[in-house]
């Protein structure tokens, strides 16, 4: 207030008083939010890096500084390497299949109609449904003796398969279920992009004698490039975080053999919260973070400024931002 009282002109005094009040409001309003943010997100993110360089004991994550030892141990640890490989395998296949089906669905649904709105709703259902109940019912569908899937397959003469029992099929089973869960999400984003393509482009190509396939591959797909990159990266990142469905479907007597579908987050969870190897698990989390960071930067790197602007414009137009 002292600052204000030294102002001589009454006009300026009034203005800066308003400005001062605005400043006070801005700080008092933003402070609690930033404090919560710092406490539950920003500080833990930095602490995690710190932990990863320390040997931990129960209750003391910072027992002794050991440099990169945790990381060296990680890559000599068969279970971690296996988790990394499994998760990568999972992420690649979930992303490829969910994107392929999503593009196909979006192409089929790009003309707006009552039917397309209904289909959009149906394909989006698994996206909004929580993972646990969905994993529970899929586990039941995969049941070797009474499961729905083996019954359907028996129509075409396929012998019952112990989907979650055998290492080879367990991963496939979880991938199928995860593709089912997210395909609707990717579809919606492609729909926004496709519906934005001006009809005149397609008509012009048709007049020039382009076939449906040519229109799709030569006109539509190139125009979808920025959106495609966005969807690929988001799906891969989300897939690298896979945990819940693995936890549900690998547990219990009907569950899959743990190591066949062991993923990074599962390994982090076990090391940190079952074996209390905090520093070691934190190092794993750093690896996960670096993978996600690399994927994010990849998206920013590959798509030029123009493409990024185009993507933003599309998302805005679709009412998404």
């Amino acid at each position: 207030m002292k600052r204000i009282s030294t102002e001589s002109s009454p006009g300026r005094k009034k203005l800066s008083e308003t400005e001062f009040k605005k400043r006070v409001f801005a700080y008092t309003a933003i402070l609690p939010v930033i404090l919560i943010f710092g406490f539950v997100r920003i500080v833990p993110i930095f602490q995690n890096f710190l932990y990863s360089f320390f040997q931990s004991t129960i209750g003391n994550p910072l027992q002794q500084f050991i440099g990169f030892t945790n990381f060296k141990d990680l890559f000599a640890d068969d279970l971690f390497v296996l988790s990394l490989r499994n998760t990568t395998y999972f992420a690649v296949f979930v992303t490829l299949f969910s994107v392929a089906f999503a593009v196909l669905l979006a192409a089929l649904l790009s003309t707006r109609s009552k039917a397309s709105a209904l289909y959009e709703t149906i394909y989006f259902l698994p996206v909004i449904t929580p993972m646990v109940p969905v994993a529970v019912v899929w586990k039941w569908i995969y049941d070797p003796t009474y499961g729905l899937l083996n019954y359907v397959l028996s129509w075409v003469g396929i012998e019952p398969i112990g989907w979650l029992v055998f290492p080879n099929t367990a991963m496939v089973a979880i991938i199928i279920m995860s593709v089912w869960k997210i395909v609707g999400y990717n579809m919606i984003i492609f729909l926004v992009g496709m519906r934005d393509i001006p009809e005149s482009y397609i008509e012009a190509a048709r007049i020039d004698g382009a076939s449906t396939m040519q229109v799709f591959w030569r006109i539509i797909m190139p125009l979808l490039r920025p959106i495609m990159l966005f969807v690929l990266v988001i799906s891969t990142i989300n897939s690298y975080n896979v945990f819940t469905q693995v936890f549900i479907m690998t547990s219990g007597p009907q569950g899959a053999p743990g190591n066949a579908v062991r993923t990074i987050v599962f390994d982090i969870y076990e090391n940190a919260f079952r074996y209390f190897r905090t520093g070691y698990a934190a190092a794993e989390a750093v690896v996960l973070f670096l993978i996600i960071l690399a994927l994010t930067l990849l998206q920013f790197g590959i798509s030029g400024n123009k493409e990024r602007r185009e993507k933003r414009r599309l998302l805005r137009k679709g009412g998404l931002v």
Binding site: K22, A29, F37, F39, I45, W140, G319
Partner: protein
């Protein structure tokens, strides 16, 4: 974009869409059907999609043998309080970032936004240790703490406020002598109906579906949420398929109702955020 498929493909198109839609819906129908079957029918062969006898016994059992009523209340409490908190923090911070200038503003904004891509799984270990320090392990406050803020909520609010609330309106209120908090509460907040709807649906859905955090932060059943209770009961305790599917139905019904009522907003909200807070 017009329908670019040739006539002969139209039938194939509708068949594929129908087949795909059946695959999408079938697990839900199977869940519902199993939840309504008496025990001897659950394990029948061949599987019956429509139960011969419809019973609500499984729903009674799930409440009688496990504290599912408790789980349900916990989930409702956790999801609604988190939604309210996210609405408050997002609109306040979004408003400040949209309409005020102060040192460190860009830094703080970038800080809140850039952490959006970092999933909870990456920093849950230090977060858990902080909860230990605060004595918040196995407490409701510890359960809900990570779900009080949402990066994209702040971003979304900021975009909306910048686009829809003119500075002149705020200045007019200031000239009328309204205090800054009063302006926020009675001028700005009432104009945020649209984004509030989208964010609240998304926040509720996200917190309701939370699994790994409740799993590590709670140790007593009294605090388990619907998702955690289901996850635990399906292997740690012997609960038959009938009741566990009944529990699954109960866990998806609130989200399902919300979705069917507000389909458009939900699709927008969720697509916007990339499913991560």
């Amino acid at each position: 974009m017009k329908n670019y498929s040739g006539k002969p493909l139209v039938i194939l198109k509708h068949l594929s869409l129908l087949l795909g839609a059946s695959i999408m819906v079938l697990p839900f129908i199977w869940m519902l059907s199993t939840s309504l079957k008496p025990p001897h029918e659950v394990l029948s062969w061949p599987p019956q999609l429509i139960p011969n006898t419809v019973t609500i016994q499984n729903y009674v059992t799930v409440f009688a043998t496990a504290p599912f009523a408790r789980f349900f209340v916990n989930s409702v409490l956790m999801a609604s309080l988190s939604t309210v908190a996210i609405l408050i923090t997002s609109s306040v911070a979004g408003y400040v970032f949209a309409k005020f200038n102060f040192p460190l503003k860009s830094f703080l904004f970038i800080l809140t936004l850039s952490t959006a891509m970092v999933p909870l799984e990456v920093y849950m270990i230090p977060l858990y240790m902080s909860m230990v320090k605060m004595g918040w392990v196995n407490k409701f406050i510890g359960l809900i703490a990570p779900y009080l803020i949402m990066s994209y909520g702040i971003f979304f609010m900021r975009q909306n406020i910048m686009a829809s609330i003119p500075d002149e309106l705020l200045d007019a209120a200031r000239i009328d002598g309204a205090s800054e908090w009063r302006i926020f509460l009675s001028v700005v907040f009432p104009m945020l109906g649209g984004p509030i709807g989208a964010i609240s649906i998304f926040a509720f859905q996200q917190t309701w579906a939370a699994f790994i955090w409740p799993l590590i932060i709670t140790s007593s059943r009294e605090l388990w949420t619907m998702e955690l209770g289901l996850g635990m009961f399906q292997y740690r305790f012997t609960v038959d398929l009938g009741p566990i599917n009944a529990g699954s139905m109960l866990s998806i019904i609130p989200v399902l109702i919300m979705f069917l009522l507000m389909r458009k907003k939900i699709i927008q909200g969720i697509t916007l955020t990339g499913m991560k807070g």
